[in-house]
């Protein structure tokens, strides 16, 4: 049993790297796009608010799997060709950007009203008060929700297996199939996912403590 694991460690390692690449790329993109959408949703310009709202309502309600299949096998009909890996990153990114947007918006709403009023009172514009007063403080309450988005991306990336991206879940299934040690492979990859989630949670706690107001 152990030697089967050792023999296939290379394949599993590649699967893990692909999972991590999917997770990191999608999460980084989701942070940028999600924050942008959150800014849209609180901006004074109506069409931008509408764009933000439509984006969130569509993407947080669509199942990731149906989006993956639509993008992987449907978009080529429209002449849009991407590698399966890119497709998975794009879908994960879009879906988690909608959750990031809601996390950021929740953080913005959690900043006491007086902060925004004070920022306005000293003459800061919308963009200035957002960038220098509101968002830095919002970051504090956003850490936990964003950690959850991160863990969601890591676990969600396993769905890329359904469009044959060789990430951890897909690799475990393939290797298990070849070696007749499915149970072992699934347990090992489950432990890896749990480790990723714990690392994400731990990093979040450290970050939260760093950002906490020193009194």
């Amino acid at each position: 049993m152990i030697d089967v694991l050792v023999e296939n460690l290379g394949a599993l390692w590649h699967g893990l790297l692909t999972t991590l690449a999917l997770t990191v790329l999608a999460f980084a993109g989701a942070l940028v796009l999600g924050t942008l959408m959150a800014v849209f949703r609180v901006s004074p310009i109506l069409p931008l608010r509408v764009i933000g709202a439509v984006f969130v309502e569509l993407l947080r309600n669509v199942p990731l799997l149906s989006l993956l299949i639509l993008f992987a096998y449907g978009l080529p009909y429209l002449g849009i060709e991407m590698s399966l890996f890119t497709t998975a990153v794009v879908c994960l990114l879009l879906v988690s950007a909608s959750f990031t947007c809601e996390a950021v918006r929740g953080g913005i709403n959690a900043v006491p009203v007086g902060q925004a009023e004070a920022a306005r009172a000293i003459g800061l514009t919308f963009a200035q008060s957002l960038a220098t007063v509101i968002l830095p403080q919002a970051l504090r309450t956003m850490v936990q929700p964003l950690v959850n988005v991160f863990i969601g991306v890591a676990l969600g990336s396993s769905l890329a297996a359904a469009i044959a991206v060789p990430e951890l879940t897909y690799t475990a299934q393939q290797v298990g199939n070849q070696t007749a040690e499915s149970m072992l492979m699934f347990v090992v990859s489950a432990l890896v996912y749990i480790a990723i989630a714990m690392l994400g949670g731990g990093a979040g706690s450290v970050l939260e403590r760093r950002l906490a107001v020193q009194r």
Partner: protein, 294 residues
């Protein structure tokens, strides 16, 4: 919620500000329209947007076919939630209880199954467990993993509700002579669950999304039916656009229901108004630490 944020982030604009907002509004609408027109013409050139390619999906047999899938999805979601909700509540009670062994087992279960992808567990039921004699039917291979994972998530939601309650509630129950179990059943749980009802409804969205894994195990729910329909009509793009739209509508309604419940439950009086409000603030903070989007 956003309206409040919108109003405090910028002043009621003056004449110049209003003009600037108007100009930007027009510019952005023009950009959106231009982008849509461009997308429409480019995509039309592929011929995929033409009506004949969409018409099959409004024909009677196709509608019935999708309705059968919808039925499958609803059954999976219903069975999974009917089992996962009580199971999750039990796990939460066990984790908050005084028995160390029960607490340890519940904590281990919750922490493990909260961090495992549903697909991996589905694969385990599909490919690994039959090897050791556990071979459920297709329905079980889909519903059992979904239930196991969502029970762990729901447990954490309920526990956030339990932790958010004022400790005076528990103390008062003990003071009138209730046992630990009575306190949990009669005092703590009714209030805790009430606090997290909106979050539990939101969890239904996650369960509906998980049910799409029927595509992997070949259980005839919406996703699988869409796939069959796509193979049948050779209209893959259209089939999956239609099915994605159906999911968005279902989940949108569930999300709205959760928001409505949240406002309603907050408004209605229940016990001490102030402690209730404080608990709600706390539960919001705790929930933020639990809800994992998929």
């Amino acid at each position: 919620m956003s309206e409040r944020a919108v109003r405090v982030l910028f002043d009621e604009p003056g004449p110049r500000g209003r003009r600037r907002i108007r100009v930007l509004t027009v510019l952005i609408i023009m950009t959106i329209v231009a982008a849509l027109v461009w997308a429409w013409t480019t995509l039309s050139a592929t011929g995929e947007l033409a009506w004949p390619k969409w018409k099959p999906f409004v024909q009677q047999w196709a509608v019935w076919f999708m309705l059968a899938g919808l039925k499958g999805t609803l059954i999976v979601a219903l069975v999974a939630s009917v089992v996962a909700f009580p199971l999750g509540a039990l796990l939460a009670v066990g984790r908050s209880g005084r028995n160390a062994v029960v607490r340890w087992v519940c904590t281990a279960y919750i922490e493990i199954f909260r961090s495992v992808p549903t697909l991996l567990l589905v694969y385990t039921f599909l490919f690994a467990l039959p090897g050791i004699g556990i071979n459920l039917g297709i329905f079980g291979k889909l519903v059992v993993p979904i239930t196991m994972i969502n029970a762990a998530v729901i447990a954490e939601l309920v526990r956030a509700g339990i932790n958010a309650l004022d400790s005076g509630q528990r103390e008062a129950a003990y003071a009138v002579g209730m046992t630990g179990a009575q306190t949990m059943r009669l005092v703590i749980m009714p209030q805790a669950i009430r606090l997290v009802i909106p979050a539990l409804v939101t969890q239904l969205v996650a369960i509906v999304k998980d049910s799409t894994l029927g595509y992997v195990v070949s259980y005839p729910e919406l996703m699988k039916q869409a796939n069959l329909l796509a193979n049948n009509t050779k209209l893959l793009l259209q089939a999956f656009v239609v099915v994605s739209a159906i999911y968005v509508v279902i989940n949108f309604c569930l999300t709205r229901l959760a928001m409505w419940l949240e406002i309603r439950l907050r408004r209605s009086p229940g016990g001490g108004r102030r402690s209730q409000l404080r608990a709600e603030e706390e539960v919001e903070h705790d929930l933020a630490a639990v809800v994992t989007p998929h």
